[in-house]
């Protein structure tokens, strides 16, 4: 990702050199590019990402925001928060360590990407320059077959997936196609560069001219807060998030659920630039006034004051079961919101059309689809159709939508 940002000019070579120097001092020379995204001292020290990072860049075709998600098992909740803001997934696979990657979080991340609603996937088959022999087309195709299978079992359609061979460290095929004289010359014959693949993977609802996008704008405002912070000296209270539906402009009075408090929009930024308004699909920062910080939490929802989101203590969810389930306590994830809950009732198992198969089953088995009732200790802002991920004991056990 660092290479990508460097290539499009979002990050200067000087910054990269600076990171390189700092990284070498810490004995982590090869991590220089990673440090563009991993900005905290601890992330750099431990060499891992804790929370997703944001970075914007533009090409003549489109504006992009990269949300670099943590891969580590303990940080899956943060990954879910980041993934739920995205429009497409970029899966970076290390060609030479496919097995260990598969055992790790690769599988779970693919499932979670599907769970939060992502359809388009660009698979960057990375580190091909380090394979033996370098830039082996055969190796690339083996990897492609394996990953395709994995994505298919998780429910991704073949036509939504693109495979791009590349090398982040050397930069080959990230922005520019390799030259005809290099051992990677086979690539441009049948594959795009990473950047081109991204530009071609933009899903329809995000293109502003489609009817789907128009519909989304007309709906009431809804934005889940992923961060509450001090924007600047003049903006003591700011929230950031992706607008799921509706529009917002300076001067609007909005309601924050579940607290129910109202706030005014003093100013707003999109991609770090001040704007007058923001629309569904954009990740923006809202600078608020007339509200106290104690009423705001990550995971809360900013909504229109005329149609605020409902706050409920229990709901019915239609889920795909990944691991055996009983009525039990679960960690419930709605995007960034992570709350404890309980599956209070196994209502029924259903088939592909949603028709009942068995009433009140004893236990739900992996691979089944079912309706369950989930209860919460405190009120949760919720919208019908919202996506939800259920986890327990560090493992994702089910995902689905609120009914």
């Amino acid at each position: 990702m660092g290479r990508l940002l460097l290539g499009v000019g979002a990050v200067s070579q000087r910054d990269i050199d600076k990171y390189q120097k700092q990284a070498s001092e810490m004995g982590k020379a090869s991590f220089a590019l990673a440090w563009v995204m991993d900005t905290s001292a601890e992330e750099r020290e431990r060499g891992i990402t804790f929370d997703f990072a944001q970075h914007h860049f533009s090409t003549p075709k489109s504006d992009f925001t990269i949300l670099d998600a943590p891969g580590h098992r303990d940080f899956v909740p943060n990954m879910i928060g980041g993934a739920s803001m995205a429009d497409m997934a970029v899966l970076v696979v290390d060609t030479n360590q496919l097995d260990s990657g598969m055992k790790g979080q690769t599988r779970e991340h693919i499932l979670l990407a599907k769970a939060v609603g992502l359809k388009k996937v660009v698979v960057a088959v990375n580190k091909l320059d380090a394979s033996t022999p370098p830039w082996s087309q055969q190796l690339f195709e083996t990897v492609q077959t394996d990953i395709k299978k994995l994505l298919a079992t998780s429910g991704f359609a073949d036509e939504d997936i693109k495979f791009i061979p590349c090398s982040g460290l050397s930069g080959t095929n990230v922005i520019n196609a390799p030259k005809p004289s290099s051992p990677a010359a086979w690539i441009p014959k049948s594959h795009f560069t990473l950047l081109q693949a991204l530009e071609r993977s933009i899903p329809a609802p995000t293109k502003p001219t489609t009817t789907a996008a128009q519909e989304l704008l007309k709906q009431p405002l809804r934005m889940q807060i992923i961060d509450v912070f001090r924007g600047s000296i003049t903006n003591p209270l700011s929230v950031a998030g992706r607008i799921a539906s509706g529009t917002v402009q300076i001067g609007d009075i909005v309601t924050i659920q579940p607290s129910g408090e109202k706030a005014a929009i003093k100013a707003l930024d999109v991609s770090d630039e001040p704007r007058e308004y923001a629309v569904a699909g954009q990740i923006c920062t809202l600078h608020l006034s007339d509200i106290e910080a104690q009423h705001l939490r990550s995971g809360d929802v900013v909504c229109s004051s005329q149609h605020p989101v409902r706050v409920v203590k229990s709901c019915t969810v239609l889920i795909e079961v990944l691991e055996a389930l009983l009525p039990q306590p679960v960690d419930v994830h709605f995007g960034r919101l992570h709350v404890p809950g309980r599956i209070s009732q196994l209502v029924e198992t259903v088939d592909g059309e949603g028709e009942q198969m068995k009433r009140r089953p004893r236990v739900l088995k992996a691979g089944q689809r079912a309706r369950v009732r989930v209860g919460f200790e405190e009120g949760v802002p919720m919208v019908v159709g919202e996506r939800v991920v259920l986890r327990s004991a560090g493992v994702t056990v089910a995902y689905g939508r609120v009914e």
């Binding site: 900005t39 929370d51 580590h72 960690d331 404890p340 004893r362």
Partner: protein, 421 residues
């Protein structure tokens, strides 16, 4: 709890016992022993209005011993108080027969309990456990994640949430130290609350659990506080701190931590660890679709009827919340089940509803069985409407009861429930 005197007939179970609660946990036992319609005698303070000859009234607070017939119990685990309401059942020179009174059972004060229907096997078992003088384990646990900390006291029979600290942490941003600063503030608040709860003169083991590195950082924070301050008690606490990994910062993850080998090795075998292992074993059997494991009131009763829960591995898991039902019939039903299993040679485990393992059992209906041989399709057959409501009522009630950790009976609270279908 100390048993001062008892005269319970072996055969009929009739009789009374005089008990002295010594620790807050004993009030939990009392809460499980005392049932509506029992006779409870304890000391009380009553406001008495006495009219003197000249017609003027004077209010006096009189110490007296009252015997009441119990109607309602209210247990506050956080404050460790048990309030028992009822009507005065014995002649008393200050108070009229039949008037209402609430007895506040206190530590270090005797009370006498005479059970209306006699002492059944479950009550006797509870009594035996209550007066068991073996040293009981207690530990403090803080289960946390970034921005959230739950401080709990874990005893043999209860997991009590003492304090919950929630704080908003801004995400890490390049060039800003806000995240670190807020994190330190969060640690400070958690630390201060923890100190208020702990009794440093008598340091018990402290467990810090979290996903990722939060607990480790908190431990370093405490070490730094101990090193800089003059608090000797705090320094003595340091070697008793154990750090463990948990899946999340929420209370239900505490269960997994408490039964993990790393923790049990340090904190030795305890009742809650064993209970957790049992429930885990049961869940594993269910997941494997092993037909030896069944849960729910009807299924468990059917299994016992068929004699499948007996010698050779039959286990009945039952939450003691079921015995606290307001209706005597319900309690009788479950005592009968327990007795039957015992007769068949099976094992009976009464799980405390105030531990996470007990709560998991309650969400399954409060009772489950592990049979000696697999039984097919115990859940086949008509689902009676009446039964469903009863089960639902039980489940909802149990869920709500454990939702706020209060043992408030006789009060039906409306749980907000919106069905989008």
């Amino acid at each position: 709890m100390r048993l001062i005197k008892q005269n319970i007939e072996r055969k009929t179970g009739e009789g009374s016992a005089v008990l002295l609660p010594e620790e807050p946990e004993d009030l939990w036992h009392a809460y499980n022993l005392i049932r509506p319609n029992d006779l409870l005698r304890a000391s009380a303070i009553r406001k008495v209005i006495s009219e003197s000859g000249s017609g003027s009234r004077s209010n006096e607070r009189v110490h007296t011993t009252l015997t009441i017939r119990v109607t309602k119990l209210d247990f506050d685990p956080q404050a460790a108080q048990l309030h028992v309401s009822g009507r005065v059942a014995e002649e008393n020179k200050h108070v009229k027969l039949g008037s209402f009174h609430t007895l506040d059972l206190e530590l270090q004060r005797n009370f006498t309990l005479e059970k209306a229907e006699g002492w059944d096997s479950v009550a006797l078992d509870t009594l035996k456990e209550a007066v068991n003088q073996d040293a009981k384990v207690q530990l403090w646990a803080v289960i946390m994640k970034e921005g959230l900390a739950n401080i709990c006291l874990v005893t043999d029979h209860q997991t009590i949430l003492r304090q919950k600290i929630e704080s908003n942490l801004p995400r890490k941003r390049a060039g800003s130290t806000e995240h670190e600063k807020q994190m330190q503030k969060f640690f400070q608040t958690t630390f201060d609350s923890l100190l208020r709860q702990l009794d440093l003169a008598n340091p018990k083991p402290l467990l810090l659990a979290s996903p990722a590195y939060t607990a480790t950082h908190f431990q370093s924070f405490i070490k730094a506080q101990a090193a800089s301050g003059t608090n000797k008690g705090l320094r003595e606490l340091l070697p008793k701190i154990t750090v463990a990994q948990s899946a999340s910062g929420h209370l239900h993850s505490l269960n997994e931590v408490l039964s993990s080998p790393a923790v049990t090795a340090k904190l030795s075998d305890t009742k809650f660890a064993r209970e957790t292992q049992l429930v885990d074993h049961f869940f594993t059997l269910i997941r494997k679709a092993d037909n030896r494991a069944w849960y729910g009131p009807r299924e468990s009763e059917k299994a016992v009827e068929q004699g499948a829960v007996g010698k050779g591995g039959g286990v009945l898991l039952i939450s003691n919340g079921l015995f606290r039902s307001q209706e005597i019939e319900v309690r009788k039903r479950w005592v009968k089940l327990v007795d039957e299993v015992k007769e068949q040679g099976g094992e009976v485990r009464v799980l405390s509803s105030m531990h996470e393992s007990g709560r998991r059992l309650e969400s399954l209906g409060g009772v489950a069985v592990i049979c000696t041989w697999p039984i097919e399709d115990l859940d086949d057959g008509e689902v009676e409407e009446e039964d469903e409501v009863h089960e639902n009522g039980e489940v909802d009630e149990a869920w709500h009861e454990n939702g706020d950790g209060h043992g408030i009976e006789g009060r039906v609270e409306h749980v907000e429930d919106i069905d989008f279908a």
